[in-house]
């Protein structure tokens, strides 16, 4: 298994899924990230990241029912796999280790 760390955006997406809990799909994920970070997110980037995360096995997905208000298209519900959760922890740990013992004042000066 590759030990390649998670990118920042990948972490944002994974965390958003975990925050939302159940019935998670693309639309609420975008809203959740925007709400928490206060920044606009490129919607397409979220979907590409989701696809990439699934290809790496960090996220699993299943199709819901097609509904009329979606133009007859189904929803793709997603969930973070156990491997995904572990990768998140690893990333957090790596960053924490790098931060330990470091005190920075806002503005960049040490």
């Amino acid at each position: 298994v590759s030990r390649e760390g998670l990118g920042e955006f990948e972490q944002l997406v994974l965390l958003a899924i975990l925050h939302l809990g159940s019935d998670v799909y693309g639309v609420p994920i975008v809203e959740e990230i925007e709400r928490r970070t206060g920044r606009a997110v490129a919607r397409a980037a979220v979907y590409i990241t989701l696809r990439r995360l699934e290809q790496k096995g960090l996220v699993e997905s299943w199709m819901g029912a097609a509904t009329e208000e979606r133009g007859g298209k189904p929803r793709r519900y997603v969930n973070v796999t156990r491997y995904g959760v572990r990768s998140l922890h690893d990333s957090r740990k790596t960053i924490d280790q790098m931060w330990r013992g470091l005190k920075l004042r806002p503005g960049g000066a040490r």
């Binding site: 693309g26 980037a45 208000e69 979606r70 133009g71 298209k73 189904p74």
Partner: protein
């Protein structure tokens, strides 16, 4: 609940193509969901803008993602093992395309030039092809057009399309090989609706016209056999869809209303479908009325007879049967003389009419085909030019190619990369070419003359036009790509890499061939351009015998109006007076045969007491003119006087004759005062010649002038149709409104038809020559520029490649003059050879143009020598720049870098 608006369809379509299939449905579903939410918050317009922005964003990011993955895969494979042809599938092709796009994006100016020449070449070809396609290939929008044939009668004099109602009935009643027949006769009709007069294009049709064609009305009914005037009490009319929309605003209540057509009230009974325009491509019939079969048995009228062959009857069988019936019909006809019989009534011919009647096919056929040949040569030239450009690029990148080879790329892989570039360019060029052609078709159609009736050539692009453009693009791509691919095949990477940059020119042979091709092709175009321009000059500068500038003409057509005799004559006089006193009008007149018109009035000519040697000798054209004719048209009166205002009914009958008549019938004698007769004694042999006028060309500018007798309009019965002409002090079109006002003031019920200027008439008759001269000159100049650029590019490359050699020569003491000669010698030899080759081909093919030339021989020596001189001069100019660079090569510098 209100209706939810739809997300933009085009955007959805694009998205569906851009997204990978595994996420397509759910992503689009999510977008749809958010779109609806946004509709209710911000309104549908903003939601649509949002949707489009997301579409662009998603397409861009997912395509990049796809490329990124391809790239990763390809990189991995390249580093592991030498790539095998074919295994890459669409991924490596995508990579090739990406690489090509990048390499073009690095040189935007060059790329723009390449695309422009391709777009222009393919566009011009596609434009000419789509007009040819519309005129000659596209089927009529009627039922089973393939079984329609026009019946023509033919003899030693050629083929004629006029027919009679009686023949139509005869064939319909007796033939077993045809499923039906129809007659149509198009003409400009004067209609009045709600007191307003228009002149529109109409047609008289036989009763079963629409049924035979299978044309169903969109509204009401179409004409039925029972509607023919012989059998119906009141007349009916069927409107064309376009006329119904423009004149009646598409009002369905128009059915049952009455409109006056040529003074006869007609009831509107139906509307034809929008795609139906009649049987003549290029004309749009605004109204159809039933034909009155009882009024003629005479040939030489404009009726077209079309039959539909019965199912499974071959044309040959129908020919045999219809010819038998034809002879049965014309055999006993005493009105057709033996000469006429041999000339035009020997047999019947069936002309395939699946794409309509042939009027415009015949009229525009020659210039369109010649134009097609010219633009094809141009496209070839552009291809040769781009091929040498691509070859030069490949030669420049030879080192890169060698490195790729060394890294394990197969030859096939390199060839594919180079080919992809050529195809990419030609496809984009072809797509741009379609846009260019769309525009060029409009310009071209605007040039086409209408020959007296409104022209409405709706060029409808169809699949064959697309296929044509695609084929042209592919052909261009292949011909552009072949040379560099061939070069890539020859790259030996060990040699190139070992030799560093000191390489031998590997593409010399191919370059030379391409240069020869370019110069030879441009020679062809230059020769054609010079021949056509010279003959247009000859046609324009020859003395026409009249002054075309400043003459406005309007036709007063009183046929079927009930106006005749003294009343009509009075109206004509009154009009003439009022038109002549308009400010800025120096002269006004009326005439039955204005210069350059299709009007004819051939009459027998005789001199009392003199027997002419042959009867054919006695036919002249009689032009009935008003006072002021010679001043208005600028025809010089050589001796005596012109027709004057005093030449009226009570005075002595007078005539002015053309110089050709004076020369022919009165050699060495002064004809003034002599008596003549026109029209077989009906004038009593009492016309006195009072003047001799200069010869003027009335019909064909290529033929000698007709013999013309001018007689006074007010000394005889008023002519039903006369042309009023004004000589104006400026652009004659400015007097149109004023002249039309005078017409309305005098005869409100008859609108003037055929409002035109003499210059426009002249230019119309010279249409073929003008367009061809213009087009061939444009393309000739373009060809010379292209060839010059091609020569420049190749010479520049050759000098670059020989930098080391030249540096060495300078170091060894070669003189500048010697070096100049070194470069020049090669190029000059090449160009001179190519020019001679091109001139030979041009000479051999120039006879194809001979029917279009006037006063120039196809083998005119000065044109050929001028072309060779021109091309050699251009070649030398193109060589100069790189040569001067070669002379300034610093030997120390070059030798150090090697």
């Amino acid at each position: 609940v209100s209706q939810v608006p739809d997300s933009p369809r085009l955007a959805r379509w694009l998205l569906a193509r851009a997204l990978p299939s595994d996420v397509r449905d759910d992503v689009m579903g999510d977008l749809e969901e958010v779109f609806r939410e946004r509709c209710s918050i911000a309104g549908p317009a903003w939601a649509r803008v949002w949707y489009w922005r997301e579409t662009v964003s998603f397409s861009q990011r997912f395509l990049l993602e796809r490329l990124r993955q391809c790239f990763k895969r390809d990189q991995a494979r390249l580093s592991i093992e030498s790539e095998q042809m074919g295994e890459g599938g669409d991924m490596t092709v995508l990579m090739d395309i990406r690489d090509s796009v990048r390499s073009f994006a690095r040189r935007p100016l060059l790329t723009a030039a390449i695309l422009a020449s391709l777009a222009f070449g393919i566009g011009a070809n596609t434009a000419v092809f789509s007009i040819l396609n519309t005129l000659m290939l596209q089927p009529l929008p009627v039922r089973d057009p393939g079984s329609l044939y026009q019946v023509l009668h033919a003899g030693d004099g050629g083929v004629f399309e006029s027919s009679t109602y009686a023949l139509y009935e005869h064939l319909r009643a007796n033939s077993k090989t045809i499923a039906g027949a129809l007659l149509s006769d198009a003409s400009v009709m004067k209609v009045q609706v709600d007191g307003q007069s228009d002149a529109i294009l109409g047609q008289f049709v036989s009763g079963d016209y629409f049924n035979l064609l299978g044309v169903r009305p969109v509204l009401g009914a179409v004409i039925q056999p029972a509607d023919e005037p012989g059998s119906a009490p009141n007349r009916v009319a069927v409107l064309g869809h376009r006329y119904w929309l423009t004149r009646f605003g598409g009002d369905p209540g128009v059915l049952g209303r009455t409109m006056t057509i040529d003074q006869v009230p007609h009831t509107i009974i139906g509307i034809t479908p929008p795609e139906f325009f009649g049987l003549q491509v290029g004309r749009y019939v605004d109204v159809s009325v039933p034909m009155d079969g009882s009024d003629d048995r005479i040939y030489w009228q404009s009726k077209s007879l079309v039959v539909r062959l019965a199912p499974d009857v071959p044309r040959s069988a129908a020919m045999v049967e219809l010819n038998g019936l034809f002879h049965q019909y014309v055999g006993p006809d005493k009105t057709i003389s033996a000469r006429a019989r041999a000339h035009s009534f020997k047999w019947l011919d069936l002309s395939p009419s699946s794409s309509g009647l042939p009027e415009f096919r015949d009229r525009y056929g020659t210039p369109l085909r010649a134009g097609f040949a010219i633009v094809s040569v141009l496209l070839l030239l552009a291809c040769a030019n781009l091929a040498s450009l691509f070859l030069a690029r490949a030669a420049e990148r030879r080192r890169d190619l060698a490195v790729y080879r060394a890294l394990g790329a197969s030859r096939a892989r390199l060839a594919r990369q180079l080919f992809t570039e050529a195809l990419l360019v030609s496809t984009v060029g072809g797509a741009l070419g379609l846009i260019v052609s769309w525009w060029a078709v409009r310009v071209l159609v605007g040039f086409l003359p209408d020959f007296g009736m409104p022209l409405n050539l709706q060029v409808r692009p169809d699949v064959s036009v697309l296929v044509f453009a695609l084929g042209a693009s592919l052909l261009a791509g292949v011909s552009i790509g072949l040379a560099p691919v061939w070069l890539a095949g020859k790259v030996d990477f060990r040699e190139v890499l070992a030799a560093g940059s000191r390489t031998v020119a590997t593409a010399g042979g191919a370059f030379k061939m391409l240069i020869v091709a370019q110069v030879a092709l441009s020679t062809l175009l230059v020769v054609a351009a010079m021949l056509l321009t010279a003959s247009l000059d000859n046609l324009k500068s020859q003395s026409l015998g009249f002054v075309a500038d400043g003459v406005l003409m309007l036709t007063l057509d009183a046929e079927d109006t009930g106006l005749a005799g003294e009343r009509l004559s009075g109206i004509q006089r009154q009009l003439l007076e009022r038109l002549g006193s308009l400010p800025g009008v120096s002269h006004a007149t009326l005439t039955t045969i204005p210069p350059i018109s299709s009007n004819e009035d051939g009459k027998a000519f005789s001199i009392p007491g003199v027997t002419l040697p042959t009867p054919d000798d006695g036919v002249v054209q009689v032009n009935t003119v008003g006072p002021g004719f010679f001043d208005t048209f600028g025809v010089r009166v050589l001796s005596g006087r012109g027709i004057a205002a005093t030449d009226t009914g009570s005075a002595q009958q007078v005539a002015v004759v053309s110089a050709s008549i004076a020369r022919h019938y009165f050699p060495g004698v002064d004809p003034i005062g002599k008596r003549i007769d026109v029209g077989r004694g009906r004038t009593g042999g009492q016309i006195e010649i009072v003047g001799v006028a200069e010869d003027a060309r009335y019909k064909d500018l290529r033929r000698p002038a007709d013999r013309i007798v001018y007689v006074s309009a007010f000394q005889r019965e008023a002519e039903e149709t006369v042309v009023f002409a004004l000589r104006t002090a400026g652009e004659p079109g400015q007097w149109t409104q004023a002249a039309q006002r005078e017409f309305r003031a005098v005869v409100a019920s008859i609108p003037p038809t055929d409002v035109t200027t003499l210059v426009r008439q002249r230019d119309r008759i010279l249409f073929n020559e003008r367009v061809l001269a213009l087009v061939s000159t444009c393309f000739g100049v373009l060809a010379v520029v292209l060839a010059g650029l091609g020569v420049y590019g190749v010479v520049a490359l050759s000098v670059t490649q020989r930098t080391a050699e030249i540096g060495l020569r300078i170091a060894l003491g070669a003189t500048r003059a010697g070096l100049l000669w070194l470069v020049f010698r090669e190029v000059l030899g090449l160009i001179a050879g190519a020019a001679v080759f091109g001139v030979t081909v041009a000479f051999l093919t120039s006879t194809l143009l001979s029917s279009l030339l006037f006063g120039v021989q196809p083998a005119e020596p000065w044109i050929y020598s001028a072309t060779v001189v021109l091309l050699v001069a251009i070649g030398m100019m193109a060589t100069l720049g790189p040569t001067i660079r070669a002379m300034h090569i610093d030997p120390a510098q070059t030798l150090r870098t090697q």
